[in-house]
Point group: C2
Chain length 148, copies 2
DNA sequence: TATGGACTATACGGATCCGTACTAAAATTG
DNA sequence: CAATTTTAGTACGGATCCGTATAGTCCATA
């Protein structure tokens, strides 16, 4: 309640979120063109980046990580599986779940993706102070917390 | 060259970008469901949020702001125009450009969107320190700078 | 061990996104 | 001022995204 006090004349409101959207689109676009040789869509890049650590995951886990609905995640996995980047298998303990694991080829692609991520990130973070990065992480965590 | 030195055991690399993606999806999803009554897609919400200040813009300007390609932006504007949220007119000085302006109804919808943005933002930022927010903005600016 | 409820993933279809190709208008060049 | 180049926006088609509906599996309860 009391909206007016929130929107002071200094702060139009929502600017932080608008900046968030812009930065996401800009970085994802750059990575897509930078990784054009791999012929991956932004979602696929995102999926590989998350799987890069080699730990197997279920569809739900990956979907939550890349911020896609289960139906979307299935489609992304379909394409990555068809290209030989990963395998799907029933999870031993729970036959409802599917265990997603990178193939050798998938690990190579994921490593390339991960390197591009790290490179862009390093290039950007070199220009700011460590305490700014800490603040950045704190705000992202708070946004994630507030969005539920 | 020399991949090993980049991926130190402490920092997997790219974590900041992965967190960025997650936060963007999470917040946009929450706003979409919160504004379900307006029947708007994420892109349309983003467009209205950017136009909310009432300042007319061209298609390119808006596209850059919401991080969409020109062809995508045209489609978004088609839908918003059809619903009476905005008008398209030739720009006086440059007849290649199109001047986009919110209608009365569009301004009302944009105000609602903007309020939802501000509310979510305020809820999240209340949990962090002001200097964290400053760092957040600094990092986003640096990411935008590095992505070009 | 049945039965009902919750959870995991997918098939399907409609809406959205964007690359290619195009038209029109402005800016530049000679 | 004509020819060329650059820029703004759009039409079209294919790929992607995701809501609804569905099949299979686990779990709790009696």
């Amino acid at each position: 309640m009391n909206t007016e006090s929130v929107e002071s004349r200094l702060e139009p409101g929502g600017e932080s979120l608008l900046a968030l959207q812009r930065a996401t689109h800009a970085t994802l676009h750059v990575l897509t063109t930078e990784l054009a040789a791999l012929k991956l869509t932004p979602s696929e890049i995102n999926a590989l980046a998350n799987l890069a650590d080699g730990r197997p995951r279920t569809v739900s886990e990956l979907g939550a990580a890349i911020g896609s609905k289960p139906t979307t995640t299935t489609g992304v996995l379909d394409r990555l599986e068809k290209r030989g980047h990963l395998t799907r298998a029933l999870k031993p303990g729970d036959r409802r779940s599917v265990r997603i694991e990178l193939t050798e080829q998938g690990r190579a692609a994921a490593a390339t993706v991960r390197e591009a991520f790290a490179e862009l990130e390093a290039r950007a973070l070199a220009a700011v102070r460590p305490e700014d990065v800490a603040g950045y992480r704190a705000v992202l965590a708070a946004l994630g917390e507030a969005a539920r």
